[in-house]
Amino acid sequence: MKKSCIISHYCQIRDHAVIGDDETLYERCGADLSDFFTGIYQHFDISYPKFYKMDNLCKLGFLSVELLLMDRNIQQRYAGHEVGIILMNASSSLDNDRHHQQTILDRSAYFPSPAVFVYTLPNIVIGEICIRHKFTGEGTFFVRERFDPLFLFNYVNQLFYQDVVQCCIAGWVETLGDYYDSTVYLIEKTGKPDAGITIFEPDTIKHIFAKEK
């Protein structure tokens, strides 16, 4: 019998709030997306100046994983190549694609910039998280119409069973215009499941995703 994996923690950023493991960690109503993200960064005293250069998708993914991993000592517990990152969303990098498109719309004011263009790929958010936490493991970005707990479970589960990862950060990171929504899960191997532990399975993934604050 194969051992189960557990969802050891999760973090959710949606509807003006940050939720970590069922607790509201931060809330700020009325702020626009940019102020809200900056508010989270400042509230949790994160010190990582590169944050300000990121596009909104990377900011959302970065903050979600930052709060997911806060005080978890992941870097001490796993080698870099043992940690995988599997993220998905619906709009890919369209939010920042529009930004890049603005720089090339008018030939008389043509100013495409590498600092914008580099964020026209959705997997850059995985790169930003890897740089921050020194993770060198598996990374894949999937684009799906909707969050699909069963697919996430199947894909991440086989990464564990084929020994590709020992620990996995997986979830949904979507932003487009003023809209943002993220749920990221920290998934680890465990022995016998104890009471109170969240088993990593489609229903628990779905249950957490469907939570409202």
Binding site: G80, H81, I85, A90, S91, S92, L94, D97, R98, H100, Q101, T103, I104, L105, R107, Y110, P112, S113, P114, F117, V118, T120, L121, P122, N123, I124, I126, G127, E128, C130, I131, H133, K134, F135, T136, G137, E138, G139, T140, F141, F142, V143, R144, E145, D148, F151, N154, Y155, N157, Q158, L159, Y161, Q162, V164
Partner: protein, 356 residues
């Protein structure tokens, strides 16, 4: 390719660039003519036409039934129909057509794939990562057949971006060469069909997708690691799990100074410096999300025919670690082929193909 010709040409097309540029572009009239046999080209974007053409061809020569519950379709692309973004709100295909999931859904309906398709968008490693993902889903028993298409188009969006990075070559790209000065963009589409069981009717059945790993440099989002760290980790994990003798390496070899240098370092660190290496980018440029698929198709061709292609554009070594670059085509029996790729976001992938 045997005649060492290239499809990369100097193009003048004011609709996608203010100045002439080098790229390998699919002839629009020829594409429309080919597509007209399948359906009305007017109803499909350039991206969709390319993808459907390639899939139509591959599926017509395969036993795989898209409607089978065990069949999965994976689309590998970086930008899909990004040319629609210029007139995002008033383009004739509608505002939602630009979404990658929607492109995959359209293709799904076109070929009547039963399952919801997957889209992998992982920069320049998308194609190889998609094959690796398909193979893993099959070995985990989650799919019986996986149809993988990789497509990207040459667009103003991408040209302007790479131009702003100053990573475009002043002529056709010259992978690993001393005088290399950047990449050439290309467009195209490729399809591979993976199956749990070999096809009797198809000679491709004697190639097995072996181990593969992806790895992140954790170093920089737009520049490769100076030490080839991520690519080395991916190759090293692969060889530890599957310690075979590699006969041939199909490199990413974009022709940018940093990428090719990084690959030479990673290949040397992995102890593979004497293995013949080539790059296909000099023939049809860098096709981004399609590259890993099209190049893997060429690897399969080489494994079947024993023809190892030369590296178009390469004359003189221009890397600090002397790996074994294949300049001109030659005969070689290839049992184990290593396909590698690297991309923005610090991502790298290594995949093994075996002939049985």
């Amino acid at each position: 390719m045997l005649a060492e010709m290239t499809g990369i040409r100097l193009k003048e097309d004011n609709s996608i660039a203010p100045a002439p540029f080098y790229a390998s572009v699919v002839d629009t009239a020829l594409l429309a003519e080919k597509f007209a046999v399948i359906d009305d080209p007017v109803q499909y974007t350039r991206f969709e036409q390319l993808a459907i053409c390639s899939l139509h061809d591959a599926l017509s020569r395969s036993d795989v039934d898209p409607a089978d519950p065990g069949t999965l379709f994976i689309l590998s692309t970086t930008k899909g129909s990004i040319d629609l973004l210029e007139k995002e709100k008033e383009n004739k295909f509608g505002q939602d057509r630009i979404h990658l999931w929607n492109a995959a859904r359209l293709i799904q309906r076109f070929f009547t794939f039963r399952n919801e398709p997957l889209v992998i968008s992982n920069a320049c490693i998308s194609g190889v990562q998609a094959i690796l993902t398909g193979a893993r889903l099959i070995s985990a028993g989650l799919s019986d057949n996986v149809v993988i298409n990789g497509t990207d188009i040459v667009s103003e969006f991408v040209l302007a971006g790479f131009n702003s990075f100053q990573s475009l070559s002043n002529g056709p790209c010259r992978p690993f060469d001393k005088s290399r000065d950047g990449l050439s963009l290309g467009e195209g589409s490729g399809t591979v069909v993976l199956s749990k069981t070999p096809f009797n009717s198809n000679r491709a059945g004697n190639i097995v997708v072996g181990e593969g790993f992806s790895s992140n440099d954790a170093n920089h989002i737009s520049g490769p690691s100076r030490t080839g760290e991520g690519l080395f980790i991916a190759i090293n994990r692969l060889l530890k799990k599957s310690p075979v003798e590699v006969d041939y390496i199909s490199a990413h070899g974009t022709g940018t100074p940093y990428n090719d240098e990084m690959e030479s370092i990673a290949i040397t660190r992995a102890g593979l410096q004497s293995v013949p290496v080539n790059s296909f980018k000099g023939y049809w440029g860098h096709t981004l999300g399609a590259a890993g698929i099209i190049e893997t198709v060429m690897c399969l061709y080489s494994m079947h025919t024993g023809v190892l292609f030369g590296t178009k554009g390469y004359n003189e070594p221009g890397i600090t670690h002397p790996i074994n670059i294949t300049g001109h085509s030659m005969k070689k029996d290839i049992k184990n082929c290593l396909k590698i790729a690297s991309g923005f976001g610090g991502c790298n992938v290594a995949l093994l193909l075996h002939k049985i």
